[in-house]
């Protein structure tokens, strides 16, 4: 299984890097986002603006890369005609999806570096990390959280040929609802339950808490519990979806492009 996992991660990274759109999302998009978010916060007087500018644009890029890659890969594999071969290979398709998502997420994590560099070079902004180990831990949890949310969404894409449409619908709302670029309290109250059901909301909160000069351990523990709970929930959903979906895919023939 390790060979399949590692082989798929490598192939996924090669495949994604070969796409101009992915390179744009990975490099140009976080640069532009950093500039735009900097302008948004410039006169706001917000004390933690730097973390919203750097982390916000990085997380936006990370989510976009996942949206357009991990989820979009189902569409691409379908249009390239490789989806039937992957689906019916003796390797577990779950392992392939997990490996593809890991490959994309690792590569897409570069958006955080690009945002960091852009903010530093253009605006002399820097992200002060008072507790590097806590921040690194939060970053790992964030990446796991992003992988966890994109897998069940990817599975749902196996059921339909309109993957591209859903992918576009998911991109911006998640960015807004998860508070990547502004504090969530500026959103209306009715959006709060939706935000709280999305693990990137809690990952973002975890990253911001890890950047505080004095760590609020109670808040950190609560946020960590939410992250872990939602990751487990998404993992459970993945298992449930898979059992239902692999049967429906063979019944409804949705693996190929409709003629």
């Amino acid at each position: 299984m390790f060979n399949v996992l590692w082989g798929t991660i490598k192939i996924q990274m090669k495949n994604s890097w070969a796409r101009p759109m992915f390179r744009f999302t990975l490099i140009a998009s976080p640069m532009l986002n950093t500039v735009l978010i900097y302008e948004m916060f410039r006169h706001s007087g917000q004390s933690d603006a730097a973390s919203y500018i750097i982390l916000g644009s990085g997380l936006m890029g990370l989510w976009s890369s996942i949206c357009f890659s991990s989820i979009g890969d189902i569409a691409r594999d379908r249009y390239m005609g490789v989806l039937p071969f992957l689906f019916t290979s003796p390797s577990n398709y779950n392992v392939l999806i997990v490996a593809k998502t890991i490959g994309n997420t690792l590569l897409a994590s570069l958006t955080l570096v690009v945002s960091w560099l852009t903010a530093g070079l253009l605006f002399r902004l820097t992200l002060v990390v008072p507790h590097p180990i806590v921040f690194l831990g939060a970053l790992v949890v964030t990446i796991i959280g992003f992988v966890a949310i994109s897998i069940p969404i990817s599975y749902l894409m196996l059921l339909s040929r309109k993957t591209g449409l859903y992918m576009n619908v998911l991109d911006i709302p998640v960015t807004l609802l998860c508070g990547f670029v502004f504090p969530l309290n500026v959103l209306p109250q009715w959006t709060q339950p939706i935000s709280q059901a999305l693990v990137p909301t809690w990952s973002t909160r975890l990253l911001h808490l890890a950047l505080q000069p004095t760590i609020d351990w109670v808040a950190l523990r609560t946020t960590m519990t939410w992250n872990a709970g939602l990751i487990l929930l998404y993992g459970g959903l993945t298992v449930v979806f898979w059992h239902a979906i692999q049967l429906r895919v063979r019944r409804n023939a949705t693996l190929e492009v409709s003629e």
Binding site: V4, K14, T88, R250, R251
Partner: protein, 265 residues
């Protein structure tokens, strides 16, 4: 025991036609009642018009689709129930240029698809290089697939189909759109695979190809059998239903059989 056994196979599709908010489902019977057997080590042809049910039959046998009715086994395993075990023993290729990662090299494609069959990495690299040599793509092994011609892509597809040394290889129109020399090359590769013991199920619209390659074949129309047997058997069945005609080739027999079948639908 037969390598493949198909008994009264049925496969329906529900098509939904959208008209404003209302969706009208229509049931299409792609395969109505199909039975045949394929012996180990032979090349078996599935012939029929577009929409006759050939590809649906192949997709059912390769575990991509569930049968709606009837039963089918591959290597003694049930396609509906034992799909995981079947997948280890088969491979398949579809004609055309789909089915490969176009932004990866030929070698990367073979190694990746081979890794899905859990072959050890060293064996896999050797196997990929052997197959690339066999299909005449050694010099292009590190070229991106997107730079390949149709013929080269098709050769690579066959190499991909053979990477796991399958017991059964399903080929859906493998020579579609290829020039005469590429077709001849592919025939050699297919015959070589047969020689090494692979059972091959082939669909094709090119009747001389079926005549040349197939040990046994079945002609289907509207998801049902019209004729079956060896090439000589099918020619005899065509002659039987048109006694006044001079039927000397599979092509003539096929046209006679399909026209007669269409007249009955």
């Amino acid at each position: 025991m037969a390598m493949i056994s198909v008994n009264h196979l049925q496969r329906d599709f529900v098509q939904r036609h959208s008209r404003t908010w209302h969706r009208h489902p229509t049931v299409v019977h792609a395969v109505r009642d199909l039975s045949f057997q394929v012996q180990a080590g032979e090349i078996f042809g599935l012939l029929g018009q577009n929409g006759a049910g050939k590809t649906t039959t192949i997709k059912t046998l390769t575990t991509l689709l569930l049968p709606t009715g009837g039963q089918a086994t591959v290597a003694g395993l049930d396609v509906a129930r034992d799909y995981k075990a079947i997948r280890q023993q088969i491979n398949f290729i579809f004609g055309g240029e789909l089915g490969l990662y176009r932004r990866l090299s030929a070698r990367d494609n073979l190694i990746y698809f081979g890794s899905l069959y859990k072959l050890p990495p060293t064996t896999l690299v050797q196997r990929a290089d052997t197959l690339l040599a066999q299909v005449g793509l050694s010099a292009e092994a590190d070229h991106l697939v997107e730079t390949f011609s149709k013929g080269m892509t098709q050769k690579l597809q066959i190499a991909r189909g053979l990477i796991n040394i399958p017991k059964v290889l399903f080929m859906d129109e493998p020579t579609i759109g290829l020039d005469a020399i590429s077709v001849q090359n592919l025939h050699q590769i297919i015959l070589q695979a047969k020689k090494s013991g692979t059972t091959i199920v082939l669909t094709t619209h090119y009747l001389p190809e079926a005549e040349l390659l197939c040990d046994h074949l079945i002609v289907i129309d509207h998801g049902q059998e019209v004729a079956s047997g060896t090439v000589a058997d099918v020619i005899a069945q065509g002659q039987k239903i048109a006694p006044k005609a001079q039927i000397a080739s599979l092509e003539e027999a096929y046209i006679t059989l399909i026209e007669r079948s269409a007249a009955h639908v």
